[in-house]
Amino acid sequence: MQLGLSDTQQMFLDTTTKFLDGHSGPGRARELMADPEGFDRSDWDQGGQLGWYAMLVPEKYGGGSISESGLGDAALVAEAMGAHVHTGPFLATNVTAFALAEYGRDDQKERFLPSLAAGSSIGTWAYAETDSDWSAGSVALRATPTDVGYVLDGTKSYVQDAATADLFLVTARSPGGLVEVIVPAGAPGLCVQPLESLDLARRLAEVSFTGTPVGRADVVCEGADAKAAVERQLQVALVLQCAETNGATGAGLDMTVGYAKERVAFGRPIGSYQALKHRLADHRMWLEGSWATTAYAAGSIWDRRPDAAAAARVAKAHVGRWSTHILHDCIQIHGGIGMTWEYDLHLYFRRAIANEVLYGAPDDHMRHLVDIAEEAAR
């Protein structure tokens, strides 16, 4: 929950929330679980009209946001989506657009950004690999230089909505260091293998590349640039993920506080039992910390402050750990009904669990802070 919104931001958030109230939510997510694409194309298109994919893109390329902090605005949307168990590649497409906007060549921006910003094409982020710790160092997909660009060989994993994406932003390792390239859907040797996911309202896949050619025109950045670019993308992904998780956690906690007020045991509402009250109070407290760190990180990253890398890790380490802790206990407080399939709480919990480990587990990020400190001292 971001505080101190401007009137424009509040109006934007209200519009977004109202749209999601009508088109999204746990019930809709259950319907979409069985859908092959896993999200609603018409909702996706309307999201484009609401400006959901334009916030990290400069106006020049069809982008623009309603405040000075595009990332703060995008986090507003991500949080509302989390509260609605919304499906679809909002995060992935925004990270891809952000990457191109920040590090792409002008011609690439012209080619890709307007359609990404409008929602008429879907970009996804092919960054991590199986058992990677989500650090740039663990990227192993091979980019072999050729006369006209690169050839890619290897496998990316945890790629969101790969089956529906129009283009992939792929991070690979060449003899000269990291490279980031754009690969269109349907490229030779590109193969999407859907994964089963704990978060039933999300589609993740392995994407393998076998001799997939990439022309020079589709190389976004290389070497030190690519390393910096990837770091920035991860920061943005972390903030949007944290915001989404906060939305899910807040919704689950609200449900639980409401339930505790209504549900009676031994002649009293269960929310009158101090043991539950104190646990709910702690959850509220840690959630406040989640909101604080996510908002702080959004500002720090967008403004490129020196502590941006640390701020993103602080947020993820905190949000990742406490969201699952809170939602776990929300189910415990519900008792039996919380364990049933038909009750919505587990949808939020599934998202929070998946988010805890995707884009790096809290522990990875806590350790990374020490790396950052050591590097700063060097």
């Binding site: 994964l195 089963e196 509402p269 039992y273 039996g336 399939w341 998946a354 805890e356 480990v357 587990a361």
Partner: protein, 416 residues
Amino acid sequence: MTSAPVTGSPTPEQFRAKVRGWLRDHVPRKTPGEPFLQWDDEGVARSKRIQRTLWEGGIAGVTVPVDYGGLGLGSAYDRVFREEAADYRMPEEFGNAFNVVLPTLLAHGREDLKKQYIPRMLNGEHIWCQFLSEPSGGSDLAGLLTRADRDGDVWRLNGAKIWTTGGNYSDYAICLARTNPEVPKHAGLTMFVVAMADPGITVVALKLTDGSQDFCQEYIDDVVVPADHVIGDVNDGWRVATTLMMNERTAVGRGWSLGGSKGQSEDRGIAFDPALLDLARRTERSDDPHVRSLIGESWVMTAVQEQTVRRVSEAMRTGHLPGHAAALLKAMSGATGRRQGEIGLEVAGSRAAAWRPGQASRWGVGRLSSHGIGGGTTEMQRNAIAERLLGLPREPSPDRELPFSQIRKNTSPGRN
């Protein structure tokens, strides 16, 4: 259709020889990895067949009085039976019938009910379930809403029950219902025998978040029960329920199985479940000291739980700890379960979030479902420990003295 009681009294060793021979010749052995319970057509049919075989061999109902079709032997003979049966497939789907319903019937049932129903458990004809918890009730069993109204020679039952094991395969249920709402809640309950074949009963399998469907929910819609199908006296059902819960706890304490122990009370030493270490090896993190700490922590918890179960069970047996000490074990299992879920998630990393089709990951699901709820929430165990073992004051509860009709209740289903 009579049982085949051993004439005279065999010595335990004679009995052992008989059990051993009959099991060897007529009952399948356990197969490694088979589930303890198999609530499907095949599993239930097999268990009915096995129970029938035990009956035919004259080794069913070892301690049950001869009048009700049992062997009428002492508990030493029961131990013999269990020892011999340890390697054989037992009809575990009869667990509720033998562990809970039968001893409760023996303690509180009228002669005609015992004669009518016990032999047909022993001969493998009837599987029983328990209708206790309700969607509206949760931990507060005595606050249940299912009501039984007298209508001439019968009772008419209306309400709902939940968390019933084997509800979709049972022939009879033992059912607690409210017969007088104008007295305090514990004083207006009655325990009934309900035929599952009654058209007013609708059984629905309950799907849980982890995908399992081991429990049922039942809608009770004008179910008719003959007036004589009451266990104990009308409005004395809480006393019967107390016996029932004690029987249940005792059975849980000895491992629940109808055959030999599942090894819980054997001292096999400290064993390490290799699953986490295997996982860490697959993800190439088994050399990471942090991951090793987590794996070690998981193993420590397992060993602590096992050693505490052994200690507390023994202490309850010898009277060093009261029966309420069982709450220590249930609460500990809730606490360690949650932490095991966290550790599994942390060691698995992204692999807990998504996996190749068919390679079902237990890690994320473990985190999802690692609660202390089933069989009595951790909260109830903590109350029991605090009030019964530590002697701390009871929670103020407005509902112990007031007539049930005047206390605040849930109207919609929910927490258990």
